[in-house]
């Protein structure tokens, strides 16, 4: 490992956001923890020797892949047992359309103030790729280039997903967040 202290600091700096992103997407704290732990292990095992500037995009890429895998396996299960005869849809297109139902309210969201809770609940209803683009760009503060690496897509796709996400969220919550400016 390049430098254990640096690596530990990096993981400490991203773990809460990573958990937040995972829990917003998969809507279950235990699954989210498994996903974050898996992403940490993968980064530690395979990529800790890389330059520290590469850790963030690699970590979020692994995290997003795990989240995507989670949704894929869930939709396959739903396809097999829920909508028998509905037909198999292709992975990426399917993920574009997945909007997370707010069925579980993880403790993370319950402990937030009402504005932030509303924001996260609205994010949870976005298609997965829009969630990822919004959370990486707005929450993590990542630039377009690294977001594209993290999402394994082109920079143009990141811009499209992010733009759509912000428009959808503003449409839903614009008033709520606008209210903060007026105070």
């Amino acid at each position: 490992m390049a430098n254990p202290d640096n690596f530990s600091q990096f993981l400490a700096s991203v773990e809460k956001r990573a958990f937040g992103m995972a829990v917003v997407s998969v809507k279950n704290a235990d699954d989210a923890l498994d996903i974050v732990q898996d992403a940490m292990f993968t980064l530690a095992r395979k990529y800790s020797e890389k330059n520290s500037s590469e850790w963030a995009p690699i970590f979020y890429r692994v995290l997003n892949n795990r989240i995507t895998d989670f949704h894929r396996s869930n939709s396959r299960r739903a396809g097999l047992f829920g909508w028998f005869g509905f037909g198999e849809s292709s992975g990426q297109d399917e993920l574009e359309q997945v909007a997370g139902p707010a069925q579980h309210n993880p403790e993370f969201i319950q402990e937030l103030d009402s504005d932030t809770r509303l924001l996260l609940e609205a994010v949870a209803l976005l298609p997965v790729r829009q969630q990822q683009a919004f959370l990486l760009r707005a929450w993590e503060g990542m630039d377009v280039k690294n977001t594209a690496k993290s999402m394994n897509c082109s920079e143009g796709s990141v811009k499209t997903h992010y733009s759509r996400a912000v428009h959808a969220l503003r449409e839903k919550l614009g008033e709520a967040l606008q209210g903060e400016d007026d105070e």
């Binding site: 974050v36 403790e107 504005d115 707005a138």
Partner: protein, 121 residues
């Protein structure tokens, strides 16, 4: 690089991001403890070298077994698996074949003689 958002959208997204960052500590203590534990395990995993040589004996034994099996199934000549006969057994077998042939010839001659006899019906 041109931004993907107009100024208004960008400001809104910035505020949303700040709001999310300011509430990161809202994660329950128990969850934070599990995240710390996961981090510790990941760091430990990173510091341990992958000792692939530990698996060499197993790989070796498995590979040897597979090679022997493949040789027996695909390469080995099945004729060699048959029991080898000694000279006496071989001679006896040949004599037996000769006797069978003699018997056949004798039967054929008898048949011919019967065919040659006039019909006495």
């Amino acid at each position: 690089m041109m931004s993907e958002l107009n100024d208004e959208d960008q400001q809104w997204a910035q505020r949303a991001g700040e709001q999310l960052r300011s509430h990161e500590q809202a994660i329950a203590q128990s969850t934070q403890a599990r995240l710390r534990s996961a981090r510790g395990q990941a760091l430990q995993a990173a510091s341990e070298p992958v000792r692939s040589w530990v698996f060499w004996p197993a790989w070796g034994a498995g590979g040897l077994s597979a090679a022997v099996f493949a040789w027996v199934v695909f390469v080995a000549d099945p004729v060699e698996v048959l029991p080898v006969m000694d000279d006496i057994e071989m001679a006896a077998a040949q004599e037996a074949e000769l006797l069978e042939e003699l018997e056949f010839v004798a039967w054929m001659l008898t048949e011919r003689e019967m065919d040659d006899e006039p019909y006495q019906g």
